[in-house]
Symmetry: C2
Subunit: 216 residues, 2 copies
């Protein structure tokens, strides 16, 4: 593990912007894209439960359908890659047990050794009080993945645009998510900016650091 110098990190974060015009002719190389998918997989999540799925939509016909449910933002069809982040709409014992089974496989431990962990998860997530919060809790984890993805993309020199301007229910229909236990939360277009995207060179608007960050 080789840390990057702070200046290199900040240069990447200052370089990134919400890309409006993607070069539709330029594709993310396979090895770079594979790293971005692995980035999504490696996202930290609550209890490690990974209550999300990532749909990489590359079929042009499917992208054209999604465009009509995305306020006609053309990044949907012009970006090299388009990822829809979906999150669980509910949680049940089966979802928790599937995860615990995976934990046993990966770590070579017994189910019995995870009883305390299971109790903590079911106690919180399946409680009557928390059940209405589950979609929010799951969406939060998807947003961690989005933040992780955008920062990772910038580090790799890949442009990105977060896409909140979409109609989740319509996406769910187009993507066949209805009844799957997962629902569309947000999306992200990735690829490379065109030289003519005027947003690339606009100064970033941020509140002064002294307003955004308070020291206590």
């Amino acid at each position: 593990m080789q840390p990057v110098p702070p200046a290199q990190l900040l240069a990447a974060l200052n370089w990134r912007y919400a890309t409006k015009n993607f070069d539709a002719a330029r594709r993310i190389p396979d090895d770079v894209w594979a790293a971005l998918e692995e980035t999504l997989v490696l996202t930290p999540s609550s209890f490690g439960l990974q209550p999300y799925r990532f749909l990489v939509v590359q079929d042009p016909a499917m992208r054209a359908k999604l465009l009509t449910h995305s306020w006609r933002q053309k990044q949907v069809v012009e970006a090299s890659h388009y990822v829809v982040l979906a999150a669980r709409t509910s949680m049940d014992e089966a979802a928790i047990d599937t995860f615990l089974q995976r934990t046993c496989e990966v770590r070579g431990v017994t189910r019995e050794s995870l009883a305390g962990y299971r109790g903590m998860m079911t106690g919180m997530l399946l409680s009557a009080g928390f059940q209405p919060q589950v979609p929010h809790w799951a969406a939060h984890q998807a947003y961690i993945a989005l933040g992780n993805l955008m920062t990772a993309a910038a580090m790799l020199g890949v442009d990105a645009c977060p896409m909140e301007g979409l109609v989740p229910a319509d996406y769910d229909k187009v993507l066949g998510l209805e009844g799957s236990g997962f629902g569309t939360v947000v999306a992200c277009a990735l690829g490379y900016r065109t030289a003519s995207d005027k947003y690339a060179t606009l100064p970033k608007v941020r509140f002064p650091a002294g307003e955004l960050v308070k020291h206590i």
Copy 2:
């Protein structure tokens, strides 16, 4: 802007884990911490509105108070730095206009030139239908910041632990956020792992990539 090789990114993301035991004697150097605060400031957000605040809690007495509202997770007091991410609990015209004023200052444009942008933001965020969603919308942006922060920390070789196990209302009281228009969403402890943290070397549990990522 110097991209990192994909293997370097993945090494950092595999190196990171939700740190349980921080070395309480080891502090993040000032230049590295400054870069992480700048990372938070540079977080992408919906419309660029930055509907969050970041509270860096370094006062030991304040940390001790927060510990009692954090399921006694000792990262709260042992980590080098502790950031509470708060998000707007409501949105009004004043918040939008403050942001537009800042845009004028930073970009040297007139308020009139931003009329369309203003209409888009007020039309969505201040609509009766969306108002109950505002706290969720704002929390989502705070979670982007959290994802950004954790990935940036890993790139810099800084350990982190996302802290969802806290009582937001109690944090708000301790931090004086009540009535401020912002409420605690989540926190993040940052610093350096101890050599004895057994979680550091456990294999990461992730569902197979073929389950988490679907190609369409």
